[in-house]
Amino acid sequence: MSEIEVAAQVIGGKVANIRLREKTGRKIELGDLLIVEEDDGSGLLLQVYDLEFGSQIPQSMRELAAGYTLEGYGSNLDFLDPKLRNYIVAVVRGIARINGSKVTIPKILPRFFSTVRDIREEDLKFLTKPEHPIYLGKVRSGSKVLDVDVFLNGVDMFTHHVLIPATTGRGKSNLVKVMLWSAVGKKFGILVLDAHNEYYGIGNDLGLKDHPDAKDNIVYYSTNPPPGANTLVTNLKSVKPWHFEGIIRFTDAQREAIQLYYDRFKERWLEQLVQETPSDSDEISAKTIAVIQRRLKTNLGLYFEEDRGLICKNKAFNDKAGEATISNIIQSLESGKIVIVDTSQLSDKAELLIGSIIGHGVFFRYQEYKGVGELDNKPVVSIIIEEAPRVLSMETLENTGENIYDIIAREGRKFKVGLVAITQLTSVIPTTVLSNLNTKIILGNEMSSERKAIISSSPQDLSNDNRTIASLDKGEAIVSSIFTNFAVPVQIPLFEEFVKSYNINSKKTGDTFFTG
């Protein structure tokens, strides 16, 4: 290490709390990655999690000196050898021991008084591009971005579920867009329930539609589709009683009534139920039927009027069209395509119900594939859901019971079905669910209770990273995963900048000859 590279020196501390004296002018930042070179050629990777002042001058003297300056008694007053006597102490912890391509968890302290330098790109050459790569960004040291790409193996990452916790405006959507862009054409079946219609790219907005391979790999559904896209219209026959589990709460009596209708009318049960004139003559009480009808009307906009017939006010449901919509979506996912479902025009419950119908379809089909030994030939399927507490919070699970999202979080891994849960409120998701989300891509978060929940459920020990998480700027993230050796600080590129590196105007069109 050359003299010029030295950034600090180890001056004390203990494991996970190593103290360094900063070399004057080096401006070490929270989150900076530093290296201690060991005699055996290995390096200890350190990360800064706190900064404080250090001084050789007693506190009373410092206060007095400040008084002199502030009160005008000595504007030119300075300490003797100020660079020696006053300095910054960086509190760091060892996050990895690097020996060539071998990376282990550090179990020893660095040599006392050893010098510390900034990380170099070549120190991270162990971060290679994995199989089935999903791009997350570049390694970040504090706020400095290194030219080292960070990928995770998508098969591992998606099957073991992902949590993306962040408050508004920290770049969640941008991150997901970057991830999805890198997943296009890589044979991942990804269902995106897009509550804000921001991923596909409408009109001139850049989005996944602009990927050069979008035509064969991205399918877009919307209640108001642009030319060439599919209409989000689900036939009522596709809706089964179990799709409501955990989405709309029904009492035991109501559930029994629903089941009875399903047994009687099979796939036409919902149409029949909505059109039924409540009457006590049947074995189901009129009141029960009326309540179910009211709930279907409130939650899904589904009701019956004598003169107008069956009405599906919610455009995503239809009693005639859309018979093949769900099976088409499932087929696309099974073919390794990204399916973006624009749910921005739907009610909360309608969005979750559509996700539930597709989720059930994929999950149970993949269970069958496993049963007949065909699962290995199928691509991983992942469901991206925003505002995940709507289906994964403790309160929801207690009030409405388990739902398909919760089932996937707990059991999906065995069947190659994963979940990407995006949330502002990690704290309301039960630990049993959080512990199953094995990759956390942590963006900035001001709320200490949320940071606590994130930290306590992270695959790596982030107990010292509370301040670091609070100070993450837009686009900065920490990737904590069972598939990384340490929690990797990442700078996520701005989607619009990122896609410039692709030739987005090079869509395969080919000449078309017109014959009438």
Binding site: P226, P227, G228, N230, K320, A321, E323, T325, Q331, T512
Partner: protein, 416 residues
């Protein structure tokens, strides 16, 4: 204004004399009804013929009916279907268009990578008609991709869009694997969308798209249609009236004969049991003057499928008055041996499955040879080899035509 909407007639689909006769009879009835109802014009949304160069006997009968319509002052407007389209541009539709018996609807040009369609105007009613023909399997979607929809949507007169493609949003669930186009490809705001290609009748509506109608075939284009007929599917066409800004469409059912369907599950039985039971059961079928469709499915527990003489059973039904008998055995296998690797109910489906099974076993690098595209290309190429020689066509010309069609299918002209 009153017009008829017909699709998927599939003239020439059957070599069997009875079925061919019934097919002609259905077309004759259709034209007769149109004349009787005094429709102003007829729209045929593709697959008027089963192949681009059909059997001339069938053509002769059809032409007589078209002549009848023409003589009654009823023009027939046609788009190509996936069956009667020819990549070389030599289809019976073109001949009929040249002769003035039918009028091809689709006119337009590609400018600045935009497909600018023109309307044709029915002289009597002033109805504006346009549309997009089918090409080889699903390739018409390229036209929809570049279609200038705005110009079509601006037309304010009564307008009809005729097409021969399945619509994703309206296709039945069992057709999930069938490639269709999303409705968003069609221009919005037409008064009537005359669809073809899907062999199930449906009347559909979605925001921006009223009256998207598929009549289905008037009789049958495939054995699968016959089976559906026997199970109760109504066949026919639509007569549409437009008065005082109100459209009404009325389905005109056509039943050229009675048919019956019998399905037998052989699972767990041996060949002797199946033979005895099956023979006994079909003996009880009222087959008189009917098409009888039999389906045997399941896996034999013992014996071979070849030990059951189905021709004997067919003869029994014929002796009981059946006019046509077909036994569908694609789902019938034996645990002792299996010689059928794929099953399906029409040639296209079986070929598609066979290609799908085998495409993975060869190393291919070109994108258009892979996956669905590869399967589609292979099927289209196979189709070109099936073209019958034209009457008086020399072998040399026939061979050259086949090579030409093959080259066109493979889109190799530019390379050469």
């Amino acid at each position: 204004m009153k017009f008829a909407h017909i699709a998927d007639v599939h003239i020439g689909a059957y070599y069997d004399e009875t079925l061919a006769e019934l097919s002609s009879k259905a077309f004759e009835y259709t034209i007769g009804k149109c004349v009787e109802e005094k429709v102003d014009f007829i729209i045929v949304s593709g697959d008027l013929f089963h192949v681009s160069i059909p059997d001339l006997g069938a053509v002769d009968k059809a032409v007589k009916q078209m002549r009848r319509a023409k003589d009654a002052g009823i023009p027939i407007y046609v788009v190509y279907g996936s069956h009667d389209y020819s990549p070389s541009g030599k289809s019976i539709i073109d001949i009929l268009d040249s002769s003035g018996l039918v009028t091809k609807i689709v006119k337009g040009r590609i400018e600045d990578n935009k497909l600018r369609l023109e309307f044709i105007t029915d002289e009597k009613t002033n109805a504006k008609i346009t549309g997009i023909s089918a090409r080889k399997k699903g390739l018409e979607s390229k036209y929809y991709e570049i279609l200038d929809r705005d110009a079509l949507e601006r037309e304010e007169e009564f307008k009809i869009f005729s097409f021969h493609s399945g619509i994703e949003e309206f296709k039945p669930r069992e057709l999930t694997p069938v490639e269709c186009i999303p409705i968003s490809y069609l221009p919005k705001g037409f008064d009537y969308y005359a669809g073809g290609h899907i062999h199930d009748r449906s009347e559909n509506t979605l925001p921006g798209y009223k009256n998207v109608i598929f009549p289905g075939p008037i009789f049958s284009g495939y054995p699968r249609d016959l089976e559906k007929n026997a199970k109760g599917a109504e066949r026919g066409f639509y007569i549409v009236t437009y008065n005082d800004n109100t459209i009404k469409h009325k389905f005109i059912p056509i039943k050229v004969c009675e048919s019956t369907y019998y399905e037998y599950d052989a699972t767990g039985k041996n060949s002797n049991q199946v033979k005895n039971e099956f023979q006994k059961n079909i003996g009880e079928i009222d087959a008189n003057k009917k098409i009888v469709l039999l389906k045997v499915k399941g896996k034999l527990a013992g014996g071979r499928t070849s030990e059951i003489d189905f021709s004997e059973m067919k003869n029994l039904l014929y002796s009981n008055g059946a006019i046509y008998v077909n036994v569908n055995r694609y789902g019938f296998t034996s645990s002792e041996y299996t010689d059928v690797k794929v099953s399906g109910e029409d040639v296209n489906l079986i070929e598609s499955k066979l290609f799908r099974e085998n495409i993975g076993s060869v190393k291919l690098e070109q994108d258009k040879l892979l996956g669905k595209k590869g399967i589609s290309l292979a099927q289209n190429l196979l189709k070109t080899t099936r073209l019958n020689p034209k009457i008086n066509e020399s072998k040399k010309n026939y061979d050259a035509r086949q090579v030409d069609d093959g080259i066109t299918t493979l889109e190799l002209k530019e390379v050469m």
